[in-house]
């Protein structure tokens, strides 16, 4: 599927002006790109930045029906919506829109159940690698070495591989994407929209406020994450993994930009020693190798 630039420019306005997002917010780019690609979306949002940036009731900047729900109830509520709308004969796209906390940590049970039942839901996780909404605490998605407000000297554990956990559910479609490459994200969302069943898209979404990075380089950080091999882009269709073009290009570690180039632009990695960077590098390569087994 090839998406042309004008197509991206003529999308419906799903995120209206006046929202509370910070400057350079990766989530807003991810949301606008994703939701605008969908027909008749109904979006379920658990506790996360997306639940607060929509503005104060009764004002709403999301121009699509939205159900705000408890942290660990996104996929269950979406299951109910998806089933109910089918009963009513209405064609909608039921979307779960969560941060990494809701997907990696507190909400595992609810999405795992929904994925096992293969509910007709598109689950999108905008991943900034920590609890951004509550002020930058560690999550299961935080990479080793990153400083958060609850890991003041850097996280000592590796980042959880949510995509491999998701793969164990044998759902029809899994993809990773980045706000650095909105066209790739848009294309993957369009593709996912054509598939019935539980679909998962993990979106790398830089957070300048929590990462202590320049809000002007959000897109660049997204690209660097891919170019340094930090965040591999791929799709898994019916169990078979395919690295996306931009990641396929950097499959050989020699062809990647130095990881330091990505890390040095973020305050959260400032304190990392070269040993710590090596340990993180090892985690990343290990993940690449494990993913490659599913090709």
């Amino acid at each position: 599927m090839s998406i042309k630039i004008p197509q991206l420019l003529n999308r419906p306005d799903v995120l209206l002006r006046g929202n509370f997002a910070c400057a350079g917010c990766g989530l807003s780019i991810a949301y606008r790109t994703t939701i605008s690609a969908l027909e008749n979306p109904i979006v379920v949002i658990p506790a996360c930045c997306a639940s607060v940036i929509q503005s104060l009731h009764p004002n709403v900047t999301y121009n699509v029906p939205t159900l705000n729900i408890a942290f660990a109830a996104h996929a269950s509520a979406a299951s109910g919506i998806s089933r109910g709308k089918k009963r009513r004969g209405e064609k909608v796209t039921t979307v779960v829109w969560t941060g990494d906390g809701g997907t990696y940590d507190i909400g595992v049970s609810t999405w795992s159940g929904a994925a096992e039942r293969n509910e007709d839901i598109l689950h999108c996780c905008y991943d900034n690698g920590f609890y951004s909404n509550t002020g930058a605490q560690r999550s299961g998605a935080t990479p080793r070495g990153a400083v958060t407000t609850t890991t003041p000297t850097g996280k000592t554990e590796k980042r959880k591989s949510i995509t491999r956990i998701m793969m164990a559910h044998d759902i029809p479609y899994i993809a990773t994407a980045s706000v650095g490459y909105p066209r790739d994200l848009y294309t993957k969302v369009k593709k996912a929209a054509q598939i019935e069943g539980y679909r998962f898209i993990l979106i790398d979404a830089p957070c300048p406020t929590g990462w202590n990075s320049d809000p002007a380089i959000t897109r660049e950080l997204g690209r660097l994450a891919v170019q340094t091999g930090y965040f591999p882009l791929f799709e898994v269709e019916n169990g078979k993994l395919t690295f996306s073009r931009r990641s396929e290009r950097v499959r050989d570690p020699e062809r990647r930009k130095p990881l330091e180039e990505y890390l040095s632009k973020q305050g959260r990695f400032k304190q990392m020693t070269s040993e710590a960077i090596k340990a993180l590098s090892k985690d990343l390569q290990r993940e690449w190798d494990l993913l490659a087994r599913f090709e």
Partner: protein, 379 residues
């Protein structure tokens, strides 16, 4: 055997089968449920009905009670009639979403098959449902299997009334009702269809008319929503008796009142108050007491939320003593019903002798003889 036909008929049903039969007649479109003793046979029966095509409904086998209520909330807001059921720890585990449904007014019907809380004990008391009396749900307590069926059917109509639009919890004592068979009169589908019209959503998630449900709200907005919920309960005080009366007229079951008085209140010296099956047990004590020359009545709250103040006060004005038997405790104070009855007596300056006891915790048997003995002690 659970069966319904075109005519009202009598069958031997357990309390849980009575729930399932009522739910089948109410035709929900989405059921989301998770097993827990002693509720399990409700969802087993319903899943069998769905599998065998007796009930045309989506049955969502969720992975936890938290998800059961999550799915119920989503389904209800998608615009369909929705049902779930639970007990004890299941209710606590879904607690966050029980509040969510209560405070944002989602018209879900949920029986709570009463069971004690930890340490592990599967037998009945009211600690589970009483922990949620403040959660914005209407609460019924059934005394027998017939009332379980009747209240469940009424629950749908009450929850979905546009001036109420709130979730309803139908509480029934575990095992004493849930697993014990009794004769139950089952109304016909035709009559139920006349009584309970199809689901008409007041709020619906619709791409043609987007809105955000449950979004970030400031204190003014929270105030307005809470006041609206309080108004909803006030409306329910008026509407519940009307719906009960309509049901009574149509099916010959259930009185029009939110409380049931057994015995002659005008000649009674003492009122015994108890919820659910304890209330029915207390009815048995009346005869024993009568033989001993003690004139007693049972004042049983069929509806605990809204708290039926007016009916209760009218009744208690006529007696000189009241004994409240609670099957749960508000730790650090007393039995919940006792606290609330005391508050009404004080507010309305009714100076009668007040007595309270806590009985039947963790399924401990409470006999009519014991209840009679407690009354004798007071007299």
């Amino acid at each position: 055997m659970v069966q319904t036909s075109e005519k009202q008929k009598i069958e031997l049903l357990t309390g849980n089968e009575s729930v399932a039969t009522a739910v089948k007649l109410a035709k929900p479109q989405v059921i989301a449920a998770y097993p827990i003793t002693p509720q399990t046979t409700i969802v087993e029966t319903l899943s069998k009905m769905v599998a065998e095509g007796e009930l045309d409904c989506d049955y969502v086998n969720v992975e936890s009670e938290h998800s059961a209520m999550g799915a119920a909330i989503g389904a209800s807001l998608s615009g369909v009639r929705t049902f779930t059921a639970t007990s004890a720890h299941g209710l606590l585990y879904m607690g966050e979403l029980v509040w969510w449904a209560g405070l944002t007014r989602i018209p879900i019907v949920m029986p709570v098959v009463n069971r004690s809380l930890n340490p592990w004990n599967i037998w009945p008391d009211h600690q589970d449902s009483m922990s949620f009396r403040d959660a914005g749900w209407i609460q019924f307590y059934a005394k027998n299997n017939q009332e379980v069926l009747d209240l469940t059917l009424c629950a749908f109509k009450i929850a979905e009334h546009h001036k109420i639009w709130m979730p309803v919890m139908v509480c029934l004592d575990g095992f004493i009702l849930s697993h014990t068979s009794a004769q139950v009169s089952i109304p016909s589908q035709k009559d139920v269809d006349e009584f309970l019209p199809p689901f008409e959503p007041l709020a619906i998630l619709d791409p043609k008319d987007p809105f955000a449900h449950g979004s970030l709200t400031d204190s003014q907005g929270i105030w307005e929503q809470r006041m609206s919920l309080i108004d909803g309960f006030e409306n329910s005080r008026v509407i519940i008796p009307k719906i009960f009366a309509e049901y009574a007229e149509k099916f010959g079951k259930l009185g029009k009142n939110m409380i049931e008085i057994t015995g002659d209140i005008n000649s009674a010296d003492i009122a015994i108050m108890a919820l659910g099956t304890l209330g029915e047990e207390a009815e048995q004590a009346l005869e024993v007491l009568n033989e001993k020359g003690i004139k007693a009545v049972v004042v049983r709250l069929r509806v605990f939320r809204p708290f039926p103040r007016k009916e209760l006060i009218t009744a208690l004005k006529k007696v000189s003593k009241v004994l409240v038997i609670d099957r749960a405790v508000s730790f650090g104070n007393a039995g919940q019903m006792a606290i609330e009855v005391q508050a009404e007596l004080y507010t309305h300056k009714i100076e009668i002798e007040f007595h309270q006891i806590i009985r039947g915790l963790g399924g401990m048997d409470v006999t009519y003889m014991e209840i009679a003995a407690e009354v004798e002690k007071i007299m």
